[in-house]
Assembly symmetry: C2
Homo-oligomer: 323 residues x 2
């Protein structure tokens, strides 16, 4: 092996094998806020993200309720936060999934397993967010990426001039329908109840738009060959079944907390799988904190950044107390 | 009385006498976030601020740790949030101190007393922040505005080319010292302990700067006639007394929670006077929520906006449950 390469490898190996003060798992707003605070506190901070930094916010076509921005595209806000994480001096590992976390009782350190090897840290902040909730009907899995989507900003432009449906009744569903109605020929919002959960301001925009709402309706199957062709619908009040021809369907049922890693560590979750924390973002496991959408409570960027800041502050006091 | 004027008065009187869904007391980041969320949820929302909107953040020369802004002047961030509150549709009452809040048991409404009359609301969010903590020494009160200041951004430019001292050891004190060293001839940081509470990143900047830190030192008096001339100092370890000639002194000892109004309502506070809330920002009084620096916990903008969003969400569910 070339000597220069060998020593470079050694340097990389050594830096990877250093002990980190703070390891943060998940690069959405909560994880990025924690990284900004942790690094600014002088903690040796590493942030792992299975994909690219941003989290659920990055897929939003427009955010109007994060204080400081009257309107900002999700990806733009994500990039501003990423720049800030770098500026603060935290180490970022993107496309680096943490596959397992365990406590090493002999060293009293947490071991984080990744495809880049094992990382050791004094404290861990879990900010793994929530995955997209599935509809769970025939055709959904087979036609994902072929007309079935979980992200209107990502895939919306593919449906310009076409007919699409959005399934759901919360803020995300309404936001996505309003985004799609600007470019698609026809947008349906399919909701199983007779009222929406979305906030009032969004509902008003929706009812003033050309989105057609199908109330009391569930999707029982997604049909098509190579691409989505239609949805099978059922009215839950009348029992009537029908077919709706669409080119695409956006499933906007919210998120499921990604708390598997935390559970393996012995972290307590509620019946929805959300991590239970106190006001200092402490879990039941000493040295393990949680922040953002993976935690019980309101799923909002404003809330996630607060969680992240508090989690880093609490972790800082814990780590300082150990040294 | 002119008939047009009379009817205008009547319209104003009626609108003031409407019942508000949500009254927010305090226009810092927590109160503004609550107003954005409350109004977007469709609540009839009113925001009271004794001064002008902004809160403690507005006086910061530069904010680097609010996620989304690598650097922003406090007043600029305050103005962005204010624009967003207006856009969301909340009613803003600036220069309108809430002098008292009581619960009217017959109507089950909260009554808020101001110089503009009494306002009625179903729910109240207390976001009154913290006032500047005083040093409590001779000369402080007499020379306030004559060289004694509690806000470097506000008054710093008056001391261009002069000698100033900053008293304190937290983030605010260090931030103010770093700001002042750019324009003053000489800056001292006077701290009663032998280490700072400020975050590591700020300490590093401080030690790399020309600020001279006087450790283990307290100010025992501020002296001067029409203007500050000197400080009397005492070293707490050696007992040695000395005099330091300065033209100005910035007192940066943090804030005292402004929880008097809340206490009168029967809201519980801790030994520091901070309001005690649960994770939903509920106080012990039904229909009363609290957010931001007046609440126990980390005093940061990122945290305050999360509190505000959660408080508005909890208030929304409470109000909806009543109607």
């Amino acid at each position: 092996m070339d000597r220069r390469y060998e020593s470079l490898t050694l340097v990389l190996w050594m830096s990877e094998n250093d002990i980190w003060d703070l390891a943060i798992v998940g690069g959405g707003p909560a994880g990025m806020a924690a990284a900004i605070y942790g690094a600014r506190y002088g903690l040796k901070t590493i942030l792992f993200e299975a994909g690219v930094l941003g989290g659920a916010q990055a897929t939003s076509p427009g955010i109007e309720n994060y204080p400081g921005f009257t309107f900002i595209v999700g990806m733009d806000l994500a990039n501003k936060m990423k720049e800030q994480v770098k500026r603060a001096g935290a180490t970022i590992k993107e496309i680096t999934e943490v596959k397992g976390i365990k406590k090493d009782d002999s060293s009293d350190l947490f071991l984080l397993e990744t495809r880049r090897g094992e990382f050791r840290a004094h404290a861990v902040i879990i900010a793994t967010g929530g995955g997209h909730r599935k509809l769970g009907v025939d055709g959904e899995k087979e036609l994902t990426g072929r007309g079935v989507s979980y992200c209107a900003t990502c895939d919306g432009p593919l449906f310009r001039g076409k007919r699409v449906a959005v399934v759901g009744g919360g803020n995300t569903a309404v936001t996505e329908a309003l985004y799609l109605v600007e470019l698609a020929e026809k947008v349906y919002l399919i909701h199983r109840r007779d009222e929406l959960r979305a906030e009032h301001a969004l509902q008003k925009l929706l009812f003033d738009s050309e989105v057609e709402v199908l109330w009391d309706t569930i999707v029982t199957a997604i049909e098509g060959d190579s691409m989505v062709k239609s949805l099978r619908l059922k009215n839950v009040k009348t029992g009537e079944e029908s077919e709706l021809e669409v080119d695409g369907v956006f499933i906007a049922l919210g998120s499921d907390p990604v708390s598997g890693l935390a559970k393996e560590l012995g972290v307590e979750t509620n019946e929805r799988g959300e991590i239970i924390v106190d006001r200092l973002q402490r879990t039941n496991v000493e040295g393990v904190y949680a922040a953002g959408d993976v935690v019980e409570g309101l799923k909002q960027i404003a809330v996630a950044v607060g969680h992240g800041a508090v989690a880093a502050d609490t972790a800082y006091k814990y780590i300082r107390g150990r040294s």
